[in-house]
């Protein structure tokens, strides 16, 4: 693997549109469930072990070469909220555009052709990681870091939270992120033999309920 390629893909400035999404933090702030750094940490921790683990295992499985069409179907079944499915496909399409321009590959071309409106973002992420010469663990780490850094930077804007506090939350979660990344890769390796049904399927009721409420707002700062 190339460590430099990993930094390029994981960089928040990689032009894949992630900055427009709060990962459910905007809805949680509005509902009063996130009021400061401590809530942000619990929010990110819950997200990490549920939606985060699911996304990371999908990304890792795609990076291992599991059929992305099967993975996209597994992602749909694990995303009961249509608002979140739409957001995931929108992000997938944007990442596909950036990924193809950065690391051209026949596999990316084929996936783009199969899902013109966008495949689920973690599936695209895994195939982009393959194209960049990265491994399943790299894909899992990229996915998990994004899963917590998105809400953290959104809450800085939404609550005027001190950016040092937000970064402190991310650093504090790092050991847990390592554990979840390992579980994601283990799940992905099981899926190579056992099919996509064995992948983790953790759900987070308040993220899903909040996403539907958020999608109905007339005015919002973030797309999801």
């Amino acid at each position: 693997m190339s460590r430099a390629a990993l930094l390029v893909l994981a960089d928040g400035r990689f032009p894949a549109g992630g900055h427009a999404h709060s990962g459910g933090a905007e809805a949680a702030v509005k509902a009063g469930r996130i009021t400061g750094a401590a809530d942000l940490e619990e929010f990110c921790r819950g997200r990490l072990h549920t939606a985060g683990l699911v996304s990371a295992s999908l990304a890792a499985a795609a990076a291992l070469g599991v059929d992305p069409v099967e993975l996209d179907g597994a992602a749909d079944a694990r995303t009961p909220s249509p608002a979140l499915r739409i957001a995931a496909r929108k992000l997938g399409r944007q990442l596909m555009r950036a990924g193809r321009a950065t690391w051209p590959s026949a596999e990316l071309d084929a996936l783009a052709g199969r899902f013109p409106k966008g495949a689920h973002q973690p599936v695209v992420l895994g195939v982009v990681a393959r194209a960049a010469g990265l491994g399943a663990d790299d894909a899992a780490y990229c996915s998990l870091y994004e899963c917590v850094s998105g809400p953290a930077s959104a809450v800085v804007r939404l609550l005027s939270l001190d950016p040092f506090d937000a970064t402190g939350v991310l650093a504090g979660l790092a050991p847990e992120l390592d554990v979840v990344a390992q579980r994601a890769v283990e799940g992905a390796r099981c899926a190579v033999e056992g099919g996509v049904g064995v992948l983790p399927a953790g759900g987070a009721p308040l993220l899903e309920i909040g996403a539907e409420a958020h999608a109905a707002w007339a005015v919002r700062l973030f797309a999801s």
């Binding site: 996130i34 990110c44 749909d76 694990r78 009721p205 308040l206 409420a213």
Partner: protein, 258 residues
Amino acid sequence: MTSGASGVRAAARIGARPDGRGGTALPTLESGGPLALRRTRASGSEARVMLVGAMSGPLGGDHFTVTAEVAEGARLHVGSAAATIALPGQAKGEARYDVRLKVDDGGELRWLPEQLISANGSDLRVATRVELAAGARLTLREEQVLGRAGEEPGRLSSRLTVLLDGRPLFDQELSCGPGAPGGWDGPAVLGGHRALGQLLVVRPEYVTRPVEPRSLGEYAALTPLAGPGALVTAVAADALQLRRTLDEALRELDRGTG
């Protein structure tokens, strides 16, 4: 049923098929240990079964399995007489409760059991797997209550997997209680709520006319799945509030106004 130091293993089975006179027959109705099945009065073409007993289980180390198969054209309604309470047992280790449901083309299953209550000190893993043929109909309710009144919950993990025509339609898992992965009671997952539930409705007509997504108050949402299914996800302070939300949603879906 077998019993030993490792806990109780028990299985109950239901098989439903058309009786040839416009109703549904139950050629298979096998109780097992604490899982007792009773046929109750039919409603129209629908056969009704009640799961009774099981008041004192599953305990740690127990492994219960309930299977229901609905043949083409049959209609089956399954309820339970009381809530199931997961309790700590003398045997070490987690208890398991597996539910295996299968519905053929043109068959209908209404699976509407009472709540599962996770008592303090218990450790239960529930796995529900539903296999639907392309033209099958399903109404499935799942409710979990974390702890009896004023009590901290036990460890509970629950997975609900639905395959439609062999492909994944719905797959969700939740782990909560002591020892569960962090953040389960935080602002992304349960946010201090002690009752959670899902109502899943699968109908062939949703292929062309999916339900419209919408919020049902602050703590519940109705959403169309990526397939012919509708899901209500809800969290609530207690079992009563949760049931009220799911019942109201089910009435609307049954009226076709969901």
